[in-house]
Subunit: 90 residues, 2 copies
């Protein structure tokens, strides 16, 4: 049986990850990163990476899953942003 606090962590992980998904998928599809700040998005990706490391350290499944999914999507978007900024000079 799942404990109450575990259920809450999975609800939390599902909500915050699901709310991030549509915008992330749209950005990945269109490759349009003009509305994103490189600095702020890098900071976000570093933060999500640290939450993932923290989740692994305290062995918290909800934190690991939520941040692993977000990190993959954020990493793809950040790659587009870096490409658009420095290679295509958008």
């Amino acid at each position: 049986m799942l404990e109450t606090h575990e259920i809450i962590s999975y609800v939390a992980a599902t909500c915050t990850t699901a709310s991030f998904l549509p915008q992330a998928i749209l950005t990945i599809k269109t490759k349009d990163t003009e509305g994103l700040s490189l600095g702020m998005y890098s900071l976000f990706a570093i933060g999500v990476f640290c939450w993932l490391i923290y989740g692994l350290q305290i062995e918290d499944e909800a934190i690991i899953i939520a941040n692993a999914i977000t990190l993959i999507l954020a990493g793809i978007i950040l790659s587009f942003k870096v490409y658009n900024t420095f290679i295509r000079k958008q």
Copy 2:
């Protein structure tokens, strides 16, 4: 002395909260919520609320602080969105 995993959780909390701040403050200043999806933003706010409850349950200071700050800002933005959508019929 802070343990390594505690330091990582504070770095994570600082990065993800700081990356959310400028956009949140801009939205609060301009009250322009047209680019936000009510459904997705509600889901995000519910998720952040659950993370906060979870942080309180497992007594994790970084999770509590990060999500408390984000919840206040997200709550203000969501109020604007609800007002603009249902009262001003933007």
